[in-house]
Amino acid sequence: MKPTRINPRYLFTLLAIGLMILLLSCNLGSLNLPYGGSTSNSTSQSNGLTQTGGVLNMPDPAAGLSALQSYHLSYTSTIKGLQKGQDYESNLTIDEDVVEADRSELVQQTSTGSQPVYLAMVVLNGAGYTQQEAGGACRAATSAEALTSGLTWQLPPVFGAKQVGQETVNNISATHYQFDEKSVQWQAGQNGKAQGDVWIAQPGGYVLKYQLTIQLPSGDFQGTRTWSYELSDINSVAEISLPKGCLALINDIPVMEGASGVVQLPGFQRYVSSASLEQITQFYKDKLTAAGWSLLPGVEPQGGKSTLEYVQTQKDDRGRFAVIQLDEENGQTMVVVQSAYTKKPIVMDSTTGSRAAPATESPVETPAAGSQTETPAASASLPTDLPQYPGATVTVKTDSMVVLMTTDSPDKVNAFYSQAMAQVGYTPANSLPATGISTQTWTKDQLQIVVAVMQQGSSTQIVLSAQQK
């Protein structure tokens, strides 16, 4: 058969007609007439949603949510039927809490032929967290960029839904609309049947509740699709919580400038700094004290290693602690910060305890029942003239107490303090030798110093404590 050659004249005519149709369709489109036609009683939202003459056009069902301070969202979509003659079922549920920029979302999905999905996602204080198993390990990132793509859930747009009444949904006044397949043509296709309801918050203009069922009788897929969506707790969700087993990144404890090899994991931070042990210790003292943390005095640095323990009382009366471990070697210091919360605050009875109490405490010391009426002793700062045992190592030090260790014998230590205390003007109050331990009490002006000495293995421990008389 000989191929037919099209006459250019006919082609021109056809193209001219085609172009006219195109131009006409563009003009019609630019009119953008709302379904229903009437212009009376019209309300229009900046999100494109229009409620005109009892008819709703809603091109973007997610629009308007960003104006809410907080809310809880429940979303379910299902597909059930035959795909090319084979059974197919898919169920997707999403529970989402939003509080301003923070968000938590739990996604659970099962689909025929696919791995089930469990995904907890949280954006909290700018950090992103994901958990793939309930109570399981948590992945975290200092940036939540991956979790804020907006790809979270979808509802079909609705055009031409008809108002059926005013109702209250979850304590919010709403206009109820109903619609059928003509309003969701993309999802229903030419042969599908649909039954839908949507409730629009008044005022607000956002979707409060949405239900849609579509039956698809023909095509590759034959079956039913459903969507269910509901907002609740509007502007009353207090805060976003991390999933159980998921710990917060330590993004409120600063990292030294110039840190390298920074590892940020939930409840854990590690980096290397060229700063010295002393510089890093001072850095944390400055930064954390300013942020309301209190340092618990602990073991003095030894062999290039040091541990700092900070505690803080939370607004909700929980406690929080941070342990900072420093390990200096070859001019580089590895810093490890680990932090966790305690159900109860970490509170000492009084400042006369073993360690300085957190600054947030205001303890009231009460003498024990049956005590005499004399004024109880109160702690005092260690005086600067207090003799330090020569060559002893400081193991613990607070404002009112210091613990020293020496390899000298207890007798030698007692002899030293008997002489040295007198030389700097202290008067002996009493001396109590006891099994394995001896105490000397010295006074000067209103100050009382207790020197306790005892053998510990091959060493001798010395405790010097100061109090007011």
């Binding site: 994901t130 948590c138 613990v396 109090q467």
Partner: protein, 312 residues
């Protein structure tokens, strides 16, 4: 004349291409594909990661302004093709019915060097790329922190203490079997007495300072996606000296005392057994052991143990 037809034809074609074609726009879908799961800081050969994401095709906003706009096949299959430059991905294609779905796939690092995961929705409708570097082999650093808030009533005295334990260790892959790890570390304990004895108006009890070793054992799962870890505390080996406690009574007299814990009993030592993803992470873990049970039976114990595994 023939040339004139072609000139007009050419101009009309240009015009038609330049004009917005609304009918086509209405049916042209747009979409997105994204992976939500954060990649670990360090990925090593043999690691198997489960990653989760979502793919969606946007609904064209069809206004019911006339017949014939609705598609014949409203529910289409969406396919996400997943490829990696070097590693293995499974499945390599994920198909879903419907416009929006979440999905899960596994990436296994097979060789060291730069790698890239690419996702492609519906032949280019939307794409996603993630680049990273795979390390040759990974051992693990282990970090531990625990706190114990303990209280018990002894007559008029409510004893309260706060104890932290920190630990650091390294768990190395055994050369004899690639699935097994072994290592050691050291723990440091620091206990503070929080409560004042009732007979004292001023008191001092030094913190209990103790330290000792712990053992680490690990086993990588056959699939390479998880590591079972056992951390076994071992006793200090030396007597633990609690230091000198002093107590000033209301009459100004000072008493002092001390206590000492002898060698720890390994049978009482605590153990932690847990499973991490192969990329490590931080978990709150349970401790078990007769010693812990004894403490719990003596009073009210609130504790949390937090174990961190960092590939190295």
């Amino acid at each position: 004349m023939k040339h004139a037809y072609y000139k007009v034809l050419f101009i009309l074609i240009l015009l038609s291409l330049a004009m917005p074609q609304r009918t086509v726009q209405a049916y042209a879908p747009s979409g997105g594909v994204n992976v939500f799961t954060t990649l670990p800081e360090l990925i090593c050969v043999g690691d198997s990661l489960t990653l989760e994401g979502a793919a969606g095709v946007d609904y064209p906003p069809i206004e019911p302004s006339g017949p014939g706009l609705a598609p014949l096949a409203p529910l289409v299959e969406n396919a996400v093709q997943i490829t990696a430059m070097h590693g293995k991905v499974s499945p390599s294609t994920i198909t879903h019915i419907g416009d929006f779905n979440y999905f899960s796939f596994t990436y296994t690092a097979t060789s060291a060097g730069d790698d890239e995961i690419k996702l492609n929705l519906n032949n280019g409708l939307a794409t996603y790329e993630e680049k990273f570097t795979v390390q040759k082999s990974c051992d693990y650093d282990a970090f531990l922190v625990t706190y114990m808030n303990f209280s018990t009533q002894a007559g008029d005295y409510q004893f309260r203490s706060f104890t932290t334990t920190t630990g650091m260790g390294t768990m190395k892959r055994l050369r004899t079997g690639e699935l097994y790890f072994q290592g050691t570390g050291n723990w440091d304990l620091d206990e503070d007495i929080l409560s004042k004895p009732p007979e004292c108006v001023q008191w001092y009890t030094p913190p209990l300072i103790a330290n000792g070793p712990f053992d680490l054992d690990g086993k990588l799962s056959e699939e390479g996606d998880a590591v079972d870890v056992i951390l076994q505390f071992l006793p200090s080996g030396e007597p633990i000296f609690h230091g000198i406690s002093t107590c000033t009574h209301a009459d100004g007299s000072v008493g002092a005392g001390w206590s000492q814990a002898m060698d720890g009993n390994p049978d009482l030592a605590a153990k932690i057994q847990t499973t991490f993803p192969s990329e490590g992470g931080t978990q709150q873990v349970e401790m078990t052991g007769k010693g812990l049970s004894m403490v719990q039976s003596m009073g009210d114990l609130e504790y949390t143990a937090q174990l961190t595994l960092v590939p190295r």
